[in-house]
């Protein structure tokens, strides 16, 4: 029953969010702040995670494919395809669902419990549109850049394994990441990331917007935003993969 109620409330909220802003000037004032907060401030975590995962994936792939029948470049190839197809879109978005989702839910939730949203409503402002739309637009806009950045840094992480260890040679690795490259995989990954960015920002905003009570309830809203956002990402990952790769 709750799932239907939540879906209905979420749809009604999005109906209020996805309309032209009352004042474009205010929207464009908010947008750069959100681009910086949701996009640029996510870069450090994207860099750290991508470089380590890229390196670890290269080592594990090499250790699990110690077979003379397999070509030496296969490690680079597997690392590249795993990064492109799954890590830099889905896994990265699951991680960002934690960072961005909790950030959005707690910010809007705190505004709700401190009556700042009521203040906006009483002024005659469409508070849902004013608060949520810049966040969704900013995050959906920034996500493809974060994904491409993650792919690049992940591949650099794998390359560094070749440079600093004797697990794989850099020449084999570089050959592997160029071999049988399918550009469609990048497109598929970017499409997924756009959908996931919308899910993360809108679901978190939904839980924050309807938070009530005190600080504890803002914490609950934040947790719900991360958990349900992550579940939806996994569900849509399956759906999009089925449609685009089958």
């Amino acid at each position: 029953m709750n799932i239907f109620q939540d879906t209905g409330k979420y749809t009604l909220l999005m109906k209020r969010v996805l309309v032209a802003p009352d004042r474009w000037r205010m929207f464009f004032r908010q947008l750069p702040k959100e681009l910086e907060k949701l996009g640029l401030q996510s870069l450090p975590i994207v860099v750290i995670i991508s470089i380590f995962i890229g390196a670890i994936m290269t080592i594990q792939t090499k250790l699990n494919t110690e077979n003379p029948m397999l070509p030496t470049y296969s490690t680079g190839l597997v690392t590249r395809d795993t990064l492109l197809l799954e890590f830099s879109s889905t896994i990265l978005c699951l991680i960002l669902a934690g960072k961005i989702g909790s950030n959005i839910a707690s910010e809007i939730g705190t505004m709700r419990i401190t009556e700042q949203i009521d203040a906006l409503e009483i002024m005659g402002v469409n508070s849902a549109n004013y608060l949520i739309l810049p966040k969704i637009v900013a995050f959906v806009f920034m996500m493809p850049f974060l994904v491409i950045f993650s792919m690049t840094i992940g591949l650099v992480g794998g390359y560094l394994v070749g440079v600093f260890s004797d697990i794989i040679t850099t020449a084999d690795y570089l050959l592997g990441i160029q071999y049988a490259f399918i550009p469609y995989y990048v497109f598929y990954s970017l499409v997924k990331s756009l959908v996931f960015a919308f899910i993360i920002s809108s679901v978190a905003a939904y839980y924050g917007y309807y938070a009530y009570g005190g600080a504890l309830d803002v914490g609950k809203a934040s947790t719900n935003a991360v958990v349900n956002g992550s579940i939806l990402i996994l569900f849509f990952n399956l759906l999009i993969t089925n449609v685009m790769l089958n």
């Binding site: 009352d22 004042r23 000037r25 205010m26 705190t110 505004m111 401190t114 009556e115 700042q116 009521d118 203040a119 409503e121 009483i122 002024m123 005659g124 402002v125 469409n126």
Partner: protein, 252 residues
């Protein structure tokens, strides 16, 4: 003027407001008083339209709020200022930006004119100039209330709502805020409705008082009448403190 006629509000099985009627005149400080849980906040939120009432009429100079479309309610709300219990200032904006916010959303004037108007409002509430560029968290509770009043009057509202304006303030600051609300009400001929359970405020600025008890209007009158009323619930509420019992004796 705001007229409330036969208003009922029900939450599930809980009948919170029962057939409440009252007129709130312009240029007067109208007060809704009552114990915690009596329904006064629900009444105020219903008047503003944050709660949809189950029955009755809420007329803003003849315009019935429950009959209005959302777009019309938004337009009406531009004539409304509200002072929240916790001030509800926007954390991400400075003091000056908070006061400029309604102007930037709804007025078509230049940025300089908006800034001038915001500064006029801040000066009207006696806020020191050095605090204009501070964040709301960097100023005291009393100053936050002043900023909230300045924001509420920036668009020259016809209706002003104050929810527990003295909550969390010391007696001296409370008095200053009360006087400020009263002065602004008379100066701009605003229909002001104040929600309070602070008897000092009631005695200081209450010109028209409505007492809510268990969701019903139990009494209506002026602060002068309050000492001569034979209403048990009202007397229990008003003269709960020893001080007011002495004041009552002195008045009788």
């Amino acid at each position: 003027m705001i007229s409330v006629k036969n208003v009922d509000k029900i939450f599930g099985d809980n009948h919170v407001l029962k057939n409440i009627s009252a007129d709130f005149e312009a240029g007067k400080t109208n007060m809704i008083i009552g114990a915690s849980g009596s329904g006064k906040t629900v009444l105020m939120k219903s008047i503003i339209g944050l709660h949809r009432i189950n029955n009755g009429r809420i007329e803003y100079d003849g315009r019935n709020l429950p009959d209005m479309k959302m777009s019309d309610i938004r337009i009406l709300r531009r004539e409304v200022g509200m002072l929240f219990q916790g001030s509800a200032l926007f954390d991400s904006l400075s003091v000056l930006e908070n006061v400029m916010y309604p102007l930037e959303m709804f007025s078509r004037t230049s940025k300089e004119e908006m800034k001038d108007r915001a500064i006029t409002c801040l000066k009207r509430v006696d806020l020191p100039e050095h605090s204009y560029h501070l964040a709301p968290s960097e100023i005291s509770g009393g100053m936050q209330k002043r900023v909230a009043i300045a924001r509420a009057i920036s668009l020259q509202p016809k209706y002003l709502f104050c929810d527990e304006p003295n909550s969390g303030l010391d007696p001296k600051t409370s008095l200053i805020i009360d006087q400020l609300i009263s002065e602004i009400t008379h100066e701009f001929n605003i229909t002001t409705i104040i929600n309070s359970h602070d008897m000092n405020s009631v005695m200081e600025i209450g010109e028209h008082i409505i007492f809510i008890n268990k969701g019903e209007k139990a009494w209506e009158g002026s602060k002068e009448d309050i000492f001569h009323v034979e209403n048990e619930e009202l007397n229990d509420f008003v003269f709960a403190s020893e001080l007011y019992q002495k004041v009552k004796k002195a008045n009788q």
